[in-house]
Symmetry: C2
Subunit: 222 residues, 2 copies
């Protein structure tokens, strides 16, 4: 079966940038490509838009197929359309992104992906296509969103310490924050409360575990 | 000549939302469609991406061809890809937007557009496709950008009064601002200075004309 048009048509894909904070560092979800071009290279999960699905649906489907992740809120980031960005044909990619907790998330590679893994953003492998540009823009957008905003809370597990929360903010914004000012700010919002439980790790003093008071009131990233 | 593919391909367009403030109201630039579908309807300027041009190039070219406007800095807004948004075939549109001064801008309809005109956003005619959704999102993005930001200055003519500047901010943000607070804020930034000249209109007291001290220092919308 072939499809014929009077004018040349580009192909359209979605590519998905999923950030998480793991072991104190900002990570991004990459897949290993199972097919040409760039077979064996690391890349963002993503793929071609089906003729009858919306862009959002395509991003969710490709993410689930290639990494096993579902139920992730994705925000559209930007469309990348330089004419030579794909060696096969003209491909325009609509990029999506989000930040998500990585706990309790089992990764499972599938379809065009032979592996799916978190990689620290600070030491990424060589990536296929212009995917490092896409990650760079996503990181900038994430930093701008987090600054002076409570959206960081939605990326936390059910219980967390203030230090863990601060690490998520620092990693997403890309710079260190003053501990006292950060705690004062986040507690002044009346969005989180003590659980009464403590968390201890290694030689550190046990730290209070917090939870979100009304999860519905925390801003969604948009 | 025809073009054949193994999988169905969407067409890709760019659509461009140009805002301006005219006679104290936010306006958007519309063209009257010269061809099917929606012939004779008002719509955003825009058109199909050529196979060898970037998305940015397409947006600039279509804007110039259909409205005569060039030298406009365009920012990518969002890609609209609902499968049924165009009656002809699957068309994904990458939307761009900006706010620009309308003075000294001569409009000149061309190619697929039989007219090009500014329309107040508060009373738009019925629009082709999902173009009213595109304008609505562009207006939200514009409001978010202007709030607490100096980008409003780049949309002013060479000389302007503080009242004219406040109107631009109020129209873009979509609500009234306190006159004293606005003036205090904008003057505290040391970005504008008095020209020494005054502007008078009708029965109003002549108002001081201001200019930007160092135009290069004013933020570009992004």
């Amino acid at each position: 079966m072939t499809y014929t048009y009077k004018y040349p048509h580009p192909a359209v894909t979605t590519d998905i940038v999923i950030f998480t904070v793991r072991e104190g560092a900002l990570n991004v979800l990459l897949i290993k490509r199972g097919g040409d071009p760039y077979v064996g290279s690391w890349a963002l999960p993503g793929g071609f838009v089906r003729i009858d699905e919306s862009l959002d649906e395509c991003a969710k489907r490709e993410l689930a197929e290639e990494t096993g992740l579902s139920d992730v809120y994705l925000e559209q980031l930007y469309s990348f359309g330089e004419p030579q960005r794909d060696p096969r044909e003209r491909v325009i990619s609509v990029a999506y992104y989000t930040l998500t907790p990585s706990e309790n998330r089992e990764l499972k590679a599938g379809t065009d992906a032979t592996e799916a893994e978190w990689h620290p953003v600070s030491k990424l492998p060589a990536l296929a296509f212009d995917h490092s540009d896409i990650i760079e823009l996503a990181q900038k957008r994430l930093a701008a969103k987090m600054e002076y905003s409570t959206i960081g809370l939605q990326f936390m597990p059910e219980e967390f310490t203030l230090s863990q929360l601060q690490v998520v903010y620092e990693q997403a914004i890309g710079r260190e924050l003053d501990k006292r000012n950060f705690r004062k700010w986040i507690l002044s919002l009346d969005l989180i409360e003590e659980t009464g439980k403590k968390f201890s790790k290694g030689a550190h003093r046990p730290a209070m575990l917090y939870r979100i008071i009304k999860p519905g009131q925390v801003e969604i990233i948009r």
